[in-house]
Symmetry: C2
Subunit: 241 residues, 2 copies
């Protein structure tokens, strides 16, 4: 059995311009990993209609699930919902169910449900709303694409809503062996190990600390006993156990 | 005059698995912004030959410059150099100039230039080496693709080497206006501003702090006087000045 696959599409000039350091990708990657869904690709594009449509089309065809982040607020640069609708040829307008959520929220807060805020009720036909416990304006799922906000607290709340509804797989287990030698010293035994344990993913992540080289070797797989066995075999090969 | 364009390709299971939070993208985005090179797209793919070749091919055709990060070390999962060569139909083998750099380095440190380490001298024909002052094993530039290491200290050193060799543009200037109101309150004046200043990029980045909503409005452009004028006009519209 192979795990379901996923991709993420981050929509946001603020990351491409170097203004903001990504937080949502890191959060989603960790959550997907826990649920046994393989995140295979991430793309970050600017707030550009053609770029968003091209990316969501390519990713939704290639992977089981696509998660987007950003561009669903009330301002002129929030064009994600319309782009997703266009990508699937769905019509889009202010939808009654989304409008009702906003109307109730703004009635409580005393703010006006003006034209800009109504933009946040633009939801493609056929989409299912994603609850937003933080600031109410909903995300939505259309086909295999889950459209969520870019503000990290809202993004995280939406991920928590959506993930239980998606078929998961075998959670990925990992063990890390830290080796205080340069990669060049351990590459040969590591390569032999990767052949012996072809069912596992074995990565080597070098680091440099106080001028000395080392590497974290991360063994990942869905079978805990196999992961354990590979780490033990490696420690033995390297004379660490 | 439009600025040169760029894309980044991050090669690394460690980011997709949620193990590591990206640092190189954030660094590169900031450096490109300073030099007037527009970072238009980022893709992150796993250590998979087909995925790397497809991504580098697409990005190198679409943008003026492509920067890659990761997968050029000595271990079995370091396949970037071979994939870049394949993407351009270039042949690749251990190259004398790169081997000489490694030989000198390992002679000094007393470590052996073994078969694994020699993998780091595999450089495509026609590529120019990128100096690595940190750990010696070079990156390379082939056509419009700059291939760099994933270890942040090495990546940053290579970026510092490569960027002065690339044609820059007008550095992107930005000013931020913080507004302590929800996006829905400011969307209409912001939209009007974006029409009046169509030559600038105006982004609205909402935040939530202690239960209150606010937004940072970021005005970006290459003409400092225009950026200044747009921010002043906006502050006036919003009654802040």
């Amino acid at each position: 059995m192979t795990n379901p696959t996923a991709a993420m599409l981050v929509i946001g000039d603020e990351i491409l311009s170097g203004r903001t350091r990504d937080a949502n990708m890191f959060h989603l990657a960790g959550e997907l990993s826990k649920r046994g869904i393989d995140l295979n690709e991430v793309r970050i594009v600017s707030d550009d209609r053609d770029a968003i449509i091209a990316a969501v089309t390519a990713l939704s065809q290639a992977y089981d699930n696509v998660f987007t982040s950003g561009g669903i607020g009330p301002t002129h640069d929030d064009i994600t919902a319309d782009c997703i609708a266009a990508a699937f040829g769905a019509s889009i307008d202010v939808r009654d169910d989304a409008r009702a959520i906003l109307a109730e929220h703004y009635a409580q807060t005393g703010a006006e449900l003006n034209e800009a805020r109504l933009r946040m009720a633009r939801i493609p036909d056929g989409a299912t709303l994603i609850d937003n416990p933080v600031s109410k304006a909903p995300g939505f799922t259309l086909n295999n694409v889950h459209v969520m906000a870019g503000v990290p607290s809202v993004f995280q709340a939406m991920v928590a809503t959506v993930l239980p509804l998606i078929t998961g797989g075998q959670p990925l287990l990992s063990q890390t062996l830290r080796v205080d030698r340069g990669e060049g010293e351990i590459a040969a035994p590591l390569s032999a190990l990767a052949e012996d344990y072809a069912d596992l993913s074995i990565g080597c992540y070098p680091f440099q600390k106080n001028g000395a080289f080392g590497a974290n070797i991360v063994v990942r797989g869905t079978d805990g006993a196999r992961v354990e066995s590979a780490v033990a075999a490696l420690a033995h090969k390297l004379g660490l156990a």
